[in-house]
Amino acid sequence: MDTEFVIQTIHLKKYFGSVRAVEDVSLSVKHAEIFGFLGPNGAGKTTTISMILGLTHPTSGAVEIFGQRVTPEQNRVLRGVGTMVGAPALMLSFSARRNLQALLYLYPDIPPKRIDEVLEQVDLTSVTNRPVHTFSTGMKQRLGLALALLNKPNLLILDEPTNGLDPAGMQEIRLLLHSLSEQGITVFLSSHLLHEMEQVCDRVAVVQQGQIIAQGTVKEMLAGNDIIRISASDLESISQALTLLPGAQHIHMKGSNVEVQGVSSEHVMSYLVTQGLKPKEVSVYHPDLESVFLELTHKPA
């Protein structure tokens, strides 16, 4: 496998009896990029992340992190990784500080003051000695993030990192992830908050029913999906004319408009004029990642 990539999975599969949780996931994450892993509930995201972290045996396929194979038996390379999978793993009877102290035992080279640094980074300095079971969901999420950052990882693997956070908290996480990426730290994260992912991620992969159905940069995912909306008095004629326009796709009437994809607005206008048709208005709708995601995941995999 290629050592250029920080994470690589090759034909990763996980079956639980007859249930095919992960059918065939092959992805690669480059150094210092923020990679988004998107999918509806039950698509196989958490199972895939669990296999990447050696928490479960793949049925077949392989995982490499920093060029080294990762399995439940071989996981030493994970010492350079910070993780938060699912709900944060916290010792609820203990304080935030003690949770961090416990993890720090595994990293004797990291000074104790690192605990205060990460608590400040996630804005939990005022509650360091409170038992974690008294924390709100958002506070637990922040502490989980602090645990992930404690060992100064080169790779962060985060599953729903903004879960339970208010908009201000989400923005802080977004800024934090960007600054980490600028420091050369690779971030692999899954989330349902597609608007957030669009602002944060460099590249994304969309998974459905255990298979990756789309993968690329955010720009690539959004490109070619612009929708041209044409309003006119004679929608039927416009619609029929567009079927003869080379490159025009997904032509359909929606309300008082005709929508078409695959061609530019200038091309549509000039074509309709040559056909003797006069649209009232031609507008361009730029879909966001959520729209693209919904369109992708509503198609059969």
Partner: protein, 279 residues
């Protein structure tokens, strides 16, 4: 990594009130028994099993069970190990440690090592508290306490024999909690094993004959009894057993204790190695 993980595991166990409060509760039956027995007079229980130095063998037997089902130290061990380990599953911190590069065998091995340290602490507590009480009784009865003829090596061996006799229960508790991921199931399972399997078999098998009685000797409780009898011999006390069919030889008991421990821990390790920790 070994010392780092050991430090982590010991912090989870020894900095918790559960262990220390549990010790007080587990010692209570022994303390109550000793005072009642001592005050009941010589005709009820021979005083040499209560006062120094013979009393040491008696108090150690309270830790690992002089009779099946009477091992208060074993119950405490099950509660502490069961709860601390099961919480790692419910809190998902097992996943946290593994995702930071700790190998599964190392993590479970450390948990067993911590269980051993807990056993040693429990037995030490029984040893010290019971020992002090036996010294007080000796002074009360005789007006003096004889330390000059105390065989320190035998005392140490008695302590180690008692610890050793509890190892199968430590491994069995760990196995149950790994399989069930539940403190209640692990603790309940061990109590059930002791009271519903070991105790009835220890009582009933000898009634069926010598050969059947020998089977009871090789249950973990029977093996622990063999260790206790060696403690009695070391304390030069009259050996009294409630099981009339005799005990296994010390060497056979030691081998069987090791075999049980390795078997239970080996199965726990195999299960843990193959466990899906996605959720």
């Amino acid at each position: 990594m070994f010392w780092n993980v050991l430090h982590l595991e010991s912090d989870k166990v020894f900095r918790r009130l559960l262990l220390w409060v549990g010790l007080v509760i587990a010692l209570a039956p022994m303390i109550i028994f000793l005072f009642i027995a001592f005050n009941a007079g010589r005709g009820v229980i021979p005083t040499n099993v209560l006062i120094w130095p013979g009393g040491i063998a008696t108090v150690l037997a309270f830790a690992n069970g002089y009779f099946p089902g009477v091992g208060y130290g074993v119950y405490l061990l099950a509660v502490v190990i069961g709860m601390v380990t099961a919480q790692e599953y419910s809190w998902r911190t097992m996943q946290l440690w593994l995702s930071h590069g700790i190998a599964r065998p190392l993590l479970l091995g450390m948990k067993f090592l911590l269980a051993l340290l807990v056993v040693m602490l429990i037995v030490l507590a029984f040893f010290l508290v019971g020992g002090i009480i036996s010294i007080v009784f000796a002074y009360q009865l005789q007006g003096t306490v004889d330390f000059s003829h105390v065989d320190v090596l035998q005392l140490l061996l008695s302590y180690l024999r008692t610890v050793y006799g509890m190892l199968p229960y430590a491994a069995l508790t760990l196995l149950m909690v790994v399989v069930t991921r539940s403190a209640a199931a692990a603790i309940g399972g061990l109590v059930l094993f002791m009271l519903a399997i070991e105790l009835p078999l220890s009582l009933l098998l000898p009634l069926l004959g010598t050969n059947y009685g020998r089977i009871a000797q090789y249950l973990p409780a029977g093996l622990a009894q063999t260790m206790n009898i060696q403690n009695d011999i070391a304390a030069k006390m009259v050996v009294q057993t409630l099981v009339s069919s005799g005990q296994s030889s010390p060497l056979a008991a030691a081998i069987c204790i090791a075999a049980y421990t390795l078997l239970f821990f080996g199965i726990a390790l195999w299960v843990f190695q193959h466990q899906n920790l996605t959720n």
